[in-house]
Symmetry: C2
Subunit: 193 residues, 2 copies
DNA sequence: AACAAGTGTTTTACCTGTAAATCAAATGTC
DNA sequence: GACATTTGATTTACAGGTAAAACACTTGTT
């Protein structure tokens, strides 16, 4: 769900007025409505996890749509911007493999993106002299300027999107999410095994 | 990012040990590391939004990978499960259009999924008698049993994934996310315009 | 030195999603 | 009652993404 944004990532959630039940109203967000539906059908199940995971997934879907807007104006997909951003923020050259790890995508995807970004003159490649398998990728001046130009817009846009939540709550949210993410990044490999 | 899961949804984030900087350590999660990198390069920018949006996106990516596991065992993609789940939790037939709205995906995607799920005998269709454009889709007994069999596993799995966060914090997180989501669902159309 | 095994990158084949065009049927308008 | 408009669903063309295979090169072993 990146390019044009996907859709079906709801953690068992997903809902909308659809037929007749009007907007969200004072009953909560759409995920709350979905959880209510599930509870009506399976009163025995603990739907607690949905209230977190469903909401994270739904927020992510909505935020990505929103975020894409400023990027699209610059003719970049989010995946492309992530790649360029990785080069910009690290400040040094990266190999395709490193870029794949940095952007959490497959090597094949990085290869394709690099091809396009190179054609557009945003990145350059140079072969390693020691190990002739590896390439080193760096931003061109154009690429650097593009990232530096977009980033402030992007952040301003994100600020606007979050403006409905007051300052202190934003802080709490960031902290709690940081805690969760730390747990997930640490434990996930373990759980998957 | 669903079928096999997407990847590059980071909100300007994305990071991993990559070369040599070891695990996450007591410095925070990977998003915190990315934010530090950005601040080093652009000390003037307000990176606050990244700490929320970047984390939501990254959590969503990780959670979806994790969630996929129990579904995959049942031979379903998340998108397919979302569709079946919508039918199960509403308890009545839905038209393709309603299913698209429920699962936040395009009509074309629903058409394709319905074709596959029908072939697998998990859903059935019936034409509307009044309006011959519309179809009504319902779960077969097999489909219903499949959903009912998977759902508890799914929730148990999600519980396990969240178990690193203690009870009270889970509650706070759910509430804060609910607030954010409510804002986003209400205001997003406005912002996009 | 030859060769097995490993590593970094790219290629291939395929799958799934979207947007836009198309088809089909209902509905409003004159 | 014919005709433009709208609405529901499907088809088409295409853009990415992945997994697995293929390459190219390096490194360890004997």
């Amino acid at each position: 769900m990146t390019a044009t944004d996907g859709g079906a990532n709801d953690g068992g959630a997903g809902s909308r007025a659809g037929s007749g039940d009007g907007g969200t109203g004072p009953g909560g967000d759409t995920v709350a409505a979905v959880v209510r539906q599930w509870r009506a059908v399976h009163p025995d199940l603990d739907t607690g996890p949905m209230e977190i995971i469903g909401r994270i997934n739904r927020c992510a879907a909505l935020l990505q749509q929103a975020e894409d807007a400023p990027l699209r104006r610059a003719g970049l997909s989010r995946a492309e911007f992530d790649l360029l951003g990785a080069l910009r923020r690290t400040g040094h050259e990266l190999t395709p493999g490193e870029l794949a790890r940095e952007t959490f995508s497959s090597g094949a995807a990085v290869t394709k993106r690099l091809k396009q970004l190179t054609e557009r003159g945003l990145v350059e490649r140079r072969g390693d002299t020691r190990d002739r398998r590896v390439a080193h990728v760096r931003l061109t001046d154009t690429g650097r300027d593009l990232v530096d130009g977009i980033l402030p817009e992007q952040l301003a846009y994100e600020s606007a999107v979050l403006s409905g939540v007051d300052g202190p709550r934003q802080g709490e949210l960031a902290a709690l999410l940081g805690g969760l993410l730390g747990q997930l990044e640490g434990r996930l490999d373990a759980l998957r095994a």
